[in-house]
């Protein structure tokens, strides 16, 4: 497929998560030198800006778009029109996206939320007060994760959920303040399950400063590198994540297959680690839902295997 262009549009550029994804996109570009592969994203976490970028990209006549939507619903209109124009659309973290040829998930969201919670329960000894953080109430995957976590916690009658679904806005400082407040309000709190990438940093700092590292459990989504210090001190019990680098490569790989007219089938190998044998189901719309096996849970002892 000479000269075909795939552009990856992320939620926001410049943050570690998507910088890591960019390394994947670049790697894919190296593997496919004949294609025009790049990644862009809005300057602020604003779905309107992402919409505008997608719109302009469609206008430039790009062949395929790999999008990580801020808000899948907001993009439905333009993605639909792009598909009408013949643009290949691949999405990520948007299992409810109707207008897409394929949505790729690193794992099943419910499994992931349950796994995080299970790790938390294990640390808490199945007992005590716990609370949850989400990036924002509107973030679908975050709500799925904490929802699955709540469900999982029902297995442990001793676990009591208090003041759930605190919004962090992915801002470590704000999360820190909130976590302090919760520690004050519930001096006996035992666990935190968090969702957005920076939440573990804010909550971890609050726990560490209160001298509670190791006494209060914290399990949440996070990246190994930024969390390293807190994992070492015990302020963070464990982090869960999937590797955005691999996700980026997987999206581009699927887009390339589709540009080549190849079919994606259940159990197929996308040629990317964690996506060697993907589950393929019908998606929310006419497209496919491709689920990989990319979940990683890491703690003090294991995080060094994934330094990024």
């Amino acid at each position: 497929q000479d000269g075909k262009a795939i552009t990856t549009v992320v939620k926001i550029s410049g943050i570690p998560w998507f910088d890591r994804m960019e390394t994947g996109v670049n790697k894919f570009a190296e593997q496919n030198p004949e294609m025009d592969i790049r990644q862009v994203g809005p300057a602020t976490a604003d779905s309107a800006q992402q919409l505008q970028i997608v719109q302009d990209l469609v206008a430039t006549g790009v062949d395929a778009l790999a999008v990580v939507p801020m808000d899948p619903d907001i993009l439905e209109g333009i993605l639909g029109r792009a598909m009408d124009r013949g643009t290949i659309i691949v999405t990520h973290e948007a299992d409810n996206q109707a207008n897409t040829h394929a949505d790729i998930e690193a794992f099943d969201n419910a499994d992931y939320g349950a796994a995080l919670n299970e790790r938390l329960a294990q640390c808490m000894g199945g007992e005590g007060k716990w609370t949850t953080f989400v990036g924002s109430l509107g973030s679908r995957t975050h709500m799925q994760w904490v929802g699955a976590g709540e469900e999982n916690a029902k297995k442990y009658p001793g676990m009591e959920l208090v003041d759930p679904n605190n919004e962090s806005f992915d801002d470590a400082n704000g999360t820190y303040e909130k976590a302090k407040e919760i520690l004050r309000k519930h001096p006996d709190i035992k666990g935190f399950q968090t969702s957005a990438g920076n939440d573990v940093l804010g909550v971890g700092r609050a726990i560490e400063e209160a001298g509670l590292a190791g006494k209060v459990c914290l399990v949440g989504t996070g990246l190994p590198n930024p969390s390293a210090a807190y994992l070492d001190s015990g302020a963070i019990t464990a982090i869960g994540f999937w590797d955005p680098q691999k996700a980026g490569m997987a999206m581009n790989a699927v887009a390339k297959f589709m540009l080549e007219g190849k079919e994606i089938t259940d159990g197929m190998d996308l040629g990317v680690e964690g996506y060697e044998s993907v589950t393929v189901k019908p998606g929310a719309g006419k497209g496919l839902l491709i689920v990989g096996n990319g979940m990683v849970l890491a703690d003090k002892d294991t995080y060094k295997d994934y330094l990024f």
């Binding site: 300057a43 003041d163 605190n166 303040e177 001096p187 930024p226």
Partner: protein, 348 residues
């Protein structure tokens, strides 16, 4: 309406008409802020007695530092009749580029020198603001919207976007130095960090400049009537450069405090909080049209905003409702403020 509503009523009751009191309020609007603040604290304590513990005070103090530094800068600019929305961008730009530089070239640099460089950087960017406001002669709101975009866009486009997780040398340790430390019943440690001291020191300095130096008088004078100020022999250009430079200096300082406290340098931080800082200053009794305000009032305004931000969970407001409450609070506080002020100001 719990928090905001009660505070309103209570404050109204406390500040009820009374001879000496009314005069006091007319002269010292920050009194209203104080009453509001106390009313909220009382209301929150009633709603949840857990509010009354030393750690609350310390956490609020700690959370006030960055906002407070910003607010003092904004207050000085407001007093001179201007307004600034670029200070957060100045803070982000200085803190991030300095961290980069220190990390790369002088990881063992003393924190005092780091602060000095940050202040110098802030002064430079602030002076750019002041220069533009003075020479372009357009409202500073507009100029600083422009420089906000300019500084922040420049930072993210040309300097970098990656977070710096490992702060170099003393920058990493400074944030953890504590002034006092004690243990609560459940074994948690509460500590007041050393950087907290910066706020009172800067507040006193600002008070001194505004009240005890000719520059302070010139600043108020500029906010009162710029043409006359120029005619009376004050160098209006210098005053412009000074106020924006000073606010820039405080922003640079606040930026470093922010990262040492946070233990990571995130270039995306801070921008977006400017409006609530301005709200804090205005709630502290400074008029947005300039020429008024006090350091005490500004500090009380900051406390008010920080407290409201920090008690929502305490009072048990679910997260879906929190914004409604903060919004309603700002409106009620502002309305309360204006009506009080008007009532006690004799019709002229």
């Amino acid at each position: 309406m719990s928090a905001a509503g009660t505070s309103h009523n209570q404050a109204a009751a406390n500040a009820g008409p009374g001879g000496g009191l009314s005069g006091l309020i007319a002269k010292r609007p920050e009194f209203v802020t104080l009453v509001l603040l106390m009313a909220i604290c009382i209301a929150v304590t009633i709603a949840n007695p857990a509010f009354l513990q030393p750690s609350t005070l310390i956490d609020i103090g700690r959370a006030s530092v960055v906002t407070g530094l910003f607010a003092l800068g904004v207050f000085v600019i407001l007093a001179a009749g201007g307004i600034d929305v670029s200070f957060t961008a100045i803070a982000a730009l200085t803190m991030y580029s300095i961290t980069l530089l220190v990390q790369k070239y002088a990881p063992d640099l003393s924190i005092v020198v780091v602060f000095a460089i940050a202040i110098a950087g802030g002064v430079f960017l602030g002076v750019v603001n002041g220069f533009l406001v003075y020479t372009l002669r357009v409202p500073s709101l507009i100029v600083t919207i422009g420089t906000q975009y300019f500084f922040r866009g420049g930072l993210l486009a040309f300097i970098g976007t990656t977070w710096i997780m490992e702060l170099p040398g003393e920058m990493a340790t400074f944030g953890r130095l504590s002034l006092l430390e004690f243990e609560t019943a459940n074994g948690a440690i509460v500590s007041l960090p050393v950087y907290f001291l910066i706020l009172p020191v800067v507040a006193v300095l600002t008070w001194w400049i505004m009240r005890r130096t000719l520059m302070g008088r010139a600043i108020f004078s500029l906010g009162g009537n710029p043409e006359v100020t120029a005619r009376l022999g004050y160098n209006v250009k210098i005053v412009h450069l000074f106020v924006f430079g000073y606010a820039g200096a405080l922003a640079g300082l606040a930026g470093i405090v922010h990262i040492t406290a946070n233990r990571l340098a995130n270039p995306f931080d801070l921008v977006g909080t400017e409006i609530s800082v301005i709200a804090a200053v205005v709630l502290g009794g400074a008029r947005i049209t300039g020429g008024t305000g006090s350091v005490i009032g500004t500090m009380l305004g900051v406390l008010l905003v920080v407290v409201v931000d920090n008690v929502l969970v305490m009072v048990g407001i679910p997260s879906t409702w929190q914004r409604v409450f903060v919004g309603a609070f700002i409106l009620l506080a502002a309305a309360f403020f204006v009506t009080r002020q008007r009532k006690f100001k004799p019709a002229k």
